[in-house]
Subunit: 154 residues, 2 copies
Amino acid sequence: MSLETEIKQTRPFQSESEKCIVNIIYTNNLITIFHNKIVKDFDISIEQYNVLRILKGQNGTPITINGIIDRMLDKMSNASRLVDKLYYKGLVDRRQKETNRRACDVTITVRGEEVLDAISRSLAGRVESNLDMDKNELEQLNALLDKFREKLMK
Amino acid sequence: MSLETEIKQTRPFQSESEKCIVNIIYTNNLITIFHNKIVKDFDISIEQYNVLRILKGQNGTPITINGIIDRMLDKMSNASRLVDKLYYKGLVDRRQKETNRRACDVTITVRGEEVLDAISRSLAGRVESNLDMDKNELEQLNALLDKFREKLMK
DNA sequence: TTGTAAATTATGTAAATACATGTAACTTCA
DNA sequence: TGAAGTTACATGTATTTACATAATTTACAA
């Protein structure tokens, strides 16, 4: 089904680039819907899940709130409060740095890793396994998205 | 700059499809940031802008709230209240249908069209004009996104 | 040292959102 | 006809978000 049909758009897109933008937004929304369904079962939000992923990626090295913001996909959220909520759920640790008492060190807890792994397994099973596209095609899609962003930021 | 570098991810992605998902989310966020900047000047939100676009696409034919929801990219939002806000800004008209008094007919006002056109011009100037990619590449990107969604929904 | 600016995070607040529920209008079918 | 179920939208409410501002610590220049 074409994008125009899916979003029930009557008029054609004015340009291929306009269509690209709408296409990315729409595809992202689909992904979000899938992700939402999955993380809801684990009682955290997508943003909280992303923070856990960042912490796991640190391999034990602590990271500050600013470091988290740097690595967040959606910089709009309030990292302080996201960490706050994860902290009260026992999924992350947070302590003042010694070298800089303004900053704080955040790490993922064992419990946090368990939850993250469970979510990742669930995601892999229910989303990524569906994506039986050629590796070539996926690489091409990634390359084109990279180029798209590069042009957009220029 | 590679996606891994941009989001400062240390570990490599586990699969090309995982990378695709993150890539789409990240690219969408960039688009959102651009769009946000632009519509803010016009004192409406992105969601409200999308509703105006849908109404404009109707070419004068009224549409119900359910019709709007059907066509919305992000079905999560509350269409009633979006229309409400646009109504109080004088950008849309809303009246009870005669054939079905539960339903309501929504149309864009002249003022609404003016605002929409101004935003579209601004977007075209500041976003789409940057996208000087080959038409071929854009078409390919669109096709790959279409396929991606198709697989995801399967 | 001391005053001023910058960095880092936390908090206050208004608005937006998600989700559940309410309400009125319509449909169906015995 | 009229009770039960459905549809279409509005509203209530708890949570989240965006944005501004505060609070604390650090850096640095005079």
